[in-house]
């Protein structure tokens, strides 16, 4: 049983999706229960697999049908992918619990189909993290993308067109990736990552133009998928028009898994040597990442729609991670990887809080934040924790990822990136304090701007309308994880991430 844990991570949500399509007549509550059960199972298996990895202190290889690689398909779970699996399964489970009210609100009919897509999307993401085969990654990428199109298009009105654009761009990204895989297949005759990596490390292939084209296409495809500036245009609309649950599920995870794929491609399939010596992109990519961080944040500052603002923040965060991965220092790599976890949690935290606020107030613009501290104190505190982490206030996890990123950039003397990180943090501070001011004190024009030192003007009496418990519990857990992850940075880095630091940087 223990040996089968790696495959069960993926099989359980896959079968849950299958059954979910059939259980319509049993009612929405049954579908909800089934989804939760499936995700609990998947999370359990992820934890078991991670335990296996830690026990043996080496990667766990699972051969499907016991076919040996490179012929057979292989799942590889090492320290890094183990943690990412737990992150995905955990976030998905929290979102699923959170969805009790919102999913029904957004999908009054056929909730079971919605949950089936939900489960399928999680399957795809988990599969991408666990797979040890480049073609399988493509298929799973498309599985998650297709189900995300379905989920996003469950939003209302403008969601359709936004999703359509996403579909077109997403397909271009996936096809680039596939084409790149084709080039590498021509040169190596293999699709297994470990096998290909061994072949690609031969000196004559390091110089090969075909390999270079393959690498370029793969990275370009992944960049489109992870919405790296300036390839991000599809994302803000697609995510901000979606239903609350959909946004909570897709926004934190999809891009983060794509970043993970980028890291895998750069350092596991290819090598630090190849990425930083054979080709000389890294200075340009760092500029791109710095631009992404700064422009993403500034664009977020310009938004009035809460979720659109958050998606632009994700664009900036993608810049952080890309920069961290490309500055070619160990601290930078640790920062980028740690930020996958940190950003997954903190964006989930924010999207959940904003989702709850939208659920209660029915508004999606900044005005929804008015007097939130009086109306929904717990949600407001959770929002503050998420915001603090984005800004990088210690001891939240966002501070420590920024710490590693800046340290790495300083070691590499990439001062542009250091400056970009700091500017982005400051802009983030402005973004959130503007919101918190509204949240704390309400709009200026409603509570009166009278000149005398308002001892008299009490804030407008507001009814307390805290989010329902089914939303609060996952939100509190997420917010707590943001802080706990921050406090246990050392453990996370030592036990999981430092194993994956590629050789040669």
């Amino acid at each position: 049983m223990m040996d089968q844990a790696p495959i069960l991570i993926i099989i359980i949500p896959l079968f849950a999706a299958l059954f979910l399509t059939l259980v319509g007549p049993l009612g929405p509550r049954f579908a909800y229960g089934l989804l939760i059960t499936g995700l609990v199972g998947s999370l359990g298996c992820s934890l078991l697999s991670l335990g296996l990895v830690l026990d043996g202190n080496q990667a766990v290889q699972y051969r499907l049908g016991d076919w040996p690689p490179p012929l057979g398909i292989e799942l590889v779970i090492d320290h890094l992918s183990g943690v990412v699996l737990v992150l995905i399964a955990g976030c998905a489970l929290l979102t699923a619990i959170y969805s009790l009210r919102t999913a029904e609100q957004d999908n009054p009919d056929r909730l079971n189909h919605y949950y089936a897509l939900f489960s399928l999307l999680v399957t795809g993401l988990l599969g991408m993290a666990a797979s040890g085969d480049v073609f399988n990654i493509y298929v799973l990428l498309e599985i998650s993308a297709l189900s995300s199109y379905g989920l996003l298009a469950r939003g209302q009105g403008p969601a359709y067109f936004a999703t359509f654009k996403y579909l077109i761009v997403g397909t271009i990204g996936a096809c680039f990736y596939l084409l790149g895989v084709g080039y590498l297949y021509i040169m190596t005759g293999s699709l297994n990552i470990a096998d290909m990596a061994a072949i690609l490390s031969q000196p004559e292939l390091q110089e090969s133009v075909s390999v270079r084209i393959g690498f370029t296409l793969i990275i370009l495809g992944v960049w489109i998928k992870m919405a790296l500036f300036p390839l991000h245009a599809w994302m803000p609309n697609a995510y901000s028009k979606a239903g609350t649950t959909t946004a909570c599920l897709i926004a934190p995870l999809m891009t983060k898994v794509s970043v993970y794929i980028m890291l895998r491609m750069m350092f596991t399939l290819f090598s630090a040597d190849y990425v930083f010596s054979a080709i000389v992109w890294s200075p340009y990519v760092i500029y791109l990442a710095s631009a992404a961080a700064v422009i993403g944040m500034i664009a977020a500052l310009a938004q009035r729609d809460l979720r659109k603002m958050l998606t632009f923040i994700i664009v900036a965060e993608i810049g952080y991670m890309t920069g961290g991965a490309w500055i070619a220092t160990a601290s930078g790599f640790i920062g980028a990887t740690y930020h996958i976890l940190a950003d997954g949690l903190m964006t989930l935290c924010l999207f959940m809080a904003v989702g709850a606020i939208i659920y209660r107030t029915g508004e999606t613009s900044m005005a929804a934040m008015r007097n939130i501290f009086q109306k929904m104190p717990v949600t407001a505190v959770i929002f503050v924790i998420g915001a603090a982490s984005i800004i990088g206030v210690p001891p939240t996890c966002g501070f420590f990822s920024k710490w590693y990123l800046i340290q790495g950039a300083a070691e590499a003397e990439a001062w542009v990136f250091v400056a970009a990180l700091l500017i982005a943090s400051l802009v983030a501070a402005i973004i959130f304090f503007r919101l918190l001011e509204i949240a704390f004190f309400g709009d200026l024009d409603t509570t009166g701007a009278s000149g005398d030192h308002g001892h008299s003007h009490q804030p407008v009496a507001t009814l307390r309308a805290e989010a329902p418990l089914s939303m609060l519990i996952p939100m509190v857990i997420t917010a707590a994880s943001v802080i706990i992850l921050g406090l246990y940075t050392k453990e996370v880095v030592n036990y999981f991430i430092s194993w994956s630091v590629p050789l040669g940087i």
């Binding site: 304090f433 308002g454 009490q458 921050g486 406090l487 940075t489 050392k490």
Partner: protein, 494 residues
């Protein structure tokens, strides 16, 4: 004397006492008396802990507590040494005094959102003690940020345009300084030195030998200006803006907690991170002394022009804070002692002054100095305390401020800095210039034309006058018996 294990827990309790009080205060919002009881309980616990630690430190011990290791080689840890205990003693004691006064002020004016006010108050005290007991720069940075964030609602308390503009400016300067300057400096220092723990003596810092002088200078100024709470020009602009806050906030936070945290961080970094040897080698000390001398003089001149009492006090604060940095920057033992003791002296004197400003406002609703003529005859206790505290600011014996001036003067003679002596003299003259008229007018002046005091005006409520008198008395007391605090300060010098 308790067992050593007690002293391991005491710093944690001292920091967390007010943190633990936060939910209690928040939950008992509808019952003001219970709420205020929690505040006093936390304040009392905090002071008791700090006081017992003070005795232990005086016996030559240093308490080190490692809380949690967040990064390899880097932990959140407390270290209680004589320098930290000076600041902790002052702020934990003044919390009790200020809490008493605050209750009188808030109830006297029937302020809104009192629960939020007391919650943030407690949080900021937790942060202030946290800074005092920090064992390394990371811990200090964490509590420094916590203080910025928890005082933000206090500054914006009135929620009107002015309050929010002041609060915005407050955050922009403080977060801009800490995130934009301190954080990168912190990380670069960590990359260079491999540690952020403070050194154990003030001679040699933790900056490794062989670091390029340019880098050291950049780091040094990043810290000096990054800790914007210290009010060194040009990073002082938030301070007058933040004076829109209710007077107890100005008093405690802008005379004690916030600005003193800024100065404490700056001096802590100067002495325990860079060390006086390195600063002397690169002439950093004397450059800093001139920078802050400019602040001392400029702020005093601006203070002269202000008619709003709190604004005048605010610029006086900017000027006085730089005395502390000036003392340390002179790098002579006597001057360093003078600088550190000024943390104490200024705290007691300035809190008295702000308390008086608040008492005047509660009793008469007057803010401007020009309207206060003759008021001293109606409110003799308040203005008496005001006179004593302004003597301390000026540096006249026997009030506490004299001790500071004396030590810094001796120190600058030791350091051979005649120019600094001139600065001190000029600043004393300016201090007289902006403080003496207030007292004089209050006691001997006449009310301005067209202003007549209603017959009902009398001394502020007892709950406000008592803290004022306590703070003023202690100010005099320190001036006459400086020994108690000085013994801690002397332990800083090896």
């Amino acid at each position: 004397m308790y067992s050593p294990s007690f002293y391991q827990i005491a710093p944690v309790i001292a920091v967390c006492a007010s943190l633990a009080a936060v939910p209690l205060i928040a939950l008992s919002g509808s019952r003001p008396n219970l709420r205020e009881f929690w505040t006093f309980l936390a304040a009392g616990t905090k002071f008791a802990m700090v006081f017992s630690l003070a005795g232990y430190v005086l016996a030559g011990n240093v308490v080190e507590v490692d809380l949690i290791r967040v990064l390899p080689e880097l932990s959140i840890s407390f270290r209680v040494d004589s320098f930290g205990i000076v600041f902790a003693l002052v702020s934990s004691f003044l919390w009790i005094v200020a809490a008493t006064y605050t209750i009188g002020y808030m109830r006297g004016l029937d302020e809104h959102a009192q629960t939020r006010f007391f919650v943030c108050f407690a949080l900021s005290l937790c942060a202030a003690i946290g800074v005092a007991f920090s064992g390394n720069l990371l811990t200090m940075y964490i509590f420094y940020e916590m203080l910025s964030l928890s005082t933000y609602p206090l500054v914006a308390h009135h929620q009107d345009l002015e309050g929010r503009a002041g609060a915005r400016k407050y955050l922009v300067f403080l977060l801009g300084g800490s995130v934009g300057l301190v954080l990168p400096a912190l990380i670069i220092l960590f990359a260079l030195a491999g540690t952020l723990d403070f050194a154990y003596n003030i001679q040699s810092g933790i900056v490794p030998e062989g670091t390029g002088p340019t880098m050291v200078v950049i780091l040094f100024f990043a810290f000096l200006f990054g800790f914007a709470k210290n009010g060194v020009m040009p990073m002082h602009a938030w301070l007058p803006g933040a004076m829109v806050a209710p007077t107890p906030v100005s008093a405690l936070l802008h005379a004690v907690a916030v600005v003193k945290v800024g100065v404490f961080c700056t001096t802590r970094v100067m002495l325990y991170v860079f060390g006086i040897d390195l600063m002397a080698d690169l002439n950093l000390g004397i450059i800093t002394a001139y920078i802050v001398s400019f602040t001392i003089i400029m702020a005093s001149i601006i203070a002269l022009t202000k008619d709003n009492l709190k604004a005048r006090l605010a610029y006086s604060t900017v000027s006085q804070l730089s005395y502390i940095i000036l003392g340390v920057a002179l790098l002579a033992p006597a001057a360093i002692q003078g600088g550190i003791i000024h943390i104490v002296n200024h705290a007691f004197a300035k809190i008295t002054l702000f308390f008086c400003a608040g008492a005047i406002y509660v009793a008469t609703h007057k803010k401007n100095i020009s309207e206060m003529g003759g008021l001293g005859r109606v409110m003799p206790f308040t203005f008496g305390a005001f006179a004593v505290a302004s003597l301390s600011m000026i540096g006249a014996p026997p009030v506490a401020g004299f001790i500071t001036k004396w030590y810094i003067l001796v120190g600058s003679l030791d350091a051979g800095q005649m120019a600094i002596i001139l600065v001190l003299i000029a600043s004393t003259m300016l201090n007289v210039g902006y403080f003496a008229p207030i007292t004089y007018k209050a006691f001997f002046g006449k009310p301005p034309a067209g202003v007549s005091y209603e017959p009902g005006i009398k001394e502020a409520p007892l709950i406000m006058v008592v803290p004022i008198m306590v703070a003023a008395t202690i100010s005099v007391f320190i001036g006459i018996f400086p020994g108690f605090m000085m013994q801690f300060v002397q332990m800083v010098i090896p």
